[in-house]
């Protein structure tokens, strides 16, 4: 079943590219890459290929090599589904340090093509009427180890990867919004209208790890900036914070790094010494985002 699917999609890709070649808008390596996979079984056979100047030439299939385009959608889809081996990403949010600067939200929205009213991360104002005390709480997807959103997705569009990140593939998403209903943290948002700068991103290949371009009628959510993690960088929100609120790291290493100060500390020690807690642990969702309680900050 799987091979059949690949064949159809590559054939479609091939035809698409031949069509583009007709109007002279495609270069030779692209066509070659399109032809390659359809005939990958046979060796030493000859295929006909159309060059950009409309000449039909014959090429030995043995000489064909797949060209990995930087924006190759299939390649990106494969990377996105696999995840990073041996990692288990966690985030620690120090509520004592949050000053409601909202730099995390802004950098997240600009990276993920979100409108100002759409949030992958949102800073909530927590106000206690009786004491009159207020603190600010950044809230994002908790990347649960027991994710209710994945359970309810009828088309396997939202899934959990080996590195613990819960992602969504908007190529598969049918917009049923079951996941939005299932998520106890209200971490997901829906593209009711055309996304921001839809024209600008029209020809960009869909990158699941970045979740860009966004698509009308699909659900979008925090991806722990999986595209950044792949390159060894901290997530957008974490590195944008000016107040040292976020720690991020690999739980398998037991080390987390502060996005502002770049100070690396032991995760277990940080959680224990600061009485860290998780949101709604009673639901058994096993979140991977920890909160350090709001308190008089020493720093």
């Amino acid at each position: 079943m799987e091979t059949k699917l690949t064949q159809t999609s590559t054939r479609r890709k091939f035809l698409e590219k031949i069509g583009l070649a007709g109007i002279g808008a495609v270069s030779a390596p692209l066509i070659v890459s399109g032809c390659n996979s359809t005939d990958s079984g046979e060796s030493n056979s000859v295929i006909k290929v159309l060059t950009p100047d409309n000449k039909l030439v014959e090429i030995d299939t043995a000489a064909l090599k797949p060209v990995l385009e930087s924006g190759d959608k299939q390649h990106l889809q494969k990377l996105g589904r696999e995840g990073l081996k041996g990692k288990k990403f966690v985030m620690v949010i120090d509520l004592a340090r949050c000053q409601n600067e909202r730099a995390c939200m802004k950098s997240c929205q600009s990276a993920h093509q979100l409108k100002p009213e759409q949030h992958h991360i949102n800073v909530l104002e927590m106000h206690d009427e009786d004491s009159g005390l207020t603190y600010y709480m950044p809230k994002t997807c908790q990347h649960c180890d027991n994710p209710p959103c994945v359970t309810v997705c009828p088309v396997d569009a939202t899934f959990k990867r080996q590195d613990g990140i819960v992602l969504i593939d908007n190529e598969r998403c049918i917009g049923c919004r079951f996941c939005i209903a299932a998520c106890p943290y209200s971490a997901r948002t829906f593209n009711w209208t055309d996304p921001k700068d839809a024209e600008k991103y029209k020809d960009v290949s869909y990158n699941m790890e970045l979740n860009v371009p966004q698509k009308k009628g699909t659900v979008t959510k925090c991806a722990f900036s999986a595209d950044q993690l792949r390159e060894g960088n901290l997530p957008y929100c974490v590195s944008a914070c000016p107040n040292g609120v976020y720690y991020f790291g690999d739980a398998n290493e037991d080390l987390v790094t502060n996005g502002t100060t770049r100070e690396t500390v032991r995760l277990s020690k940080l959680l224990k010494e600061n009485a860290a807690y998780k949101l709604m642990p009673e639901l058994g969702t096993k979140p991977n985002v920890f909160y350090l309680p709001p308190r008089q900050s020493n720093s």
Partner: protein, 290 residues
Amino acid sequence: MKNSKVVWTILLFACCSAIAMAQEKWLVPEANNDMLSILIFDEDTQLEGKLIYTRSCRSCHGDPTKKDFTIMSPSPGDVASDLYQDQTDGSLFYKIQKGRGPMPSFENAFSEEEIWSLVSYIRSFNPEYQQKLPNLEGIEIPNLTLHISYDENIDKLVVKVTSDSLEVMADASVKAYIQGMFGKYPLGSEMTNELGIAYFHIDSKIPGDTEGYLDILVKTYKDYGTAKYAGKIQAGNPTIRKSAIEGRHLWSAAKKAPIWMIIIFNMMGIGIWGVIIYVIFGLRKFKKLS
């Protein structure tokens, strides 16, 4: 009325002179002004400087280049501005170390090395900056060699610093880190003893790879001589890294659902369809009989 005018005038003068005094040039003794760093500035010194800056300087000086320093007199200013970058390394060092007025003295808070790291960080905002190194003629720069081992009986990383000819280097500064995915976890900063050895405690519970190897980074310097070591040392707790989606889970997609669930689901399906088919066959039998 006249008296109050006089008082106001005096007050105004007093204020003006106070401001003038505060903004008077901060003179740095010539010897200090020409002082040069004991460190060679690189990415590591900048990172260390950044850590110190964020903790101890940012509250007044703000984020470099953003000019968001606190408004006070005299103005702390932006460390990326020409006001700072036009000064010599020695002048910056002296001012951080000694302090003046609202600028605290960090002499007791930071070691010389830490202050030079801060200078290194401040300089990282000046693309034209080139570090001035001292005239090293006649001074012998030692070629340092690091010998790293791990003593599991005392959970300590043993760092021995020698010269090329295996001559022991006492009083060399050594820093050790565990390299994490996003940053370096400091194990400490030590000086070598008379045997040229420095010890760093490593918590044996810290997870390593499947065989307990950790990525260790060690740096040493003495009299402008430096050496670096980056490698794997078997000092951690052997940890098997599991995939977060390993095994079968209730929340997984159908293909990774628990076996018992697949069996019960299929049995129920077969059972219900079985009953329906049985009933249909029964009804057909009735029809035939009638």
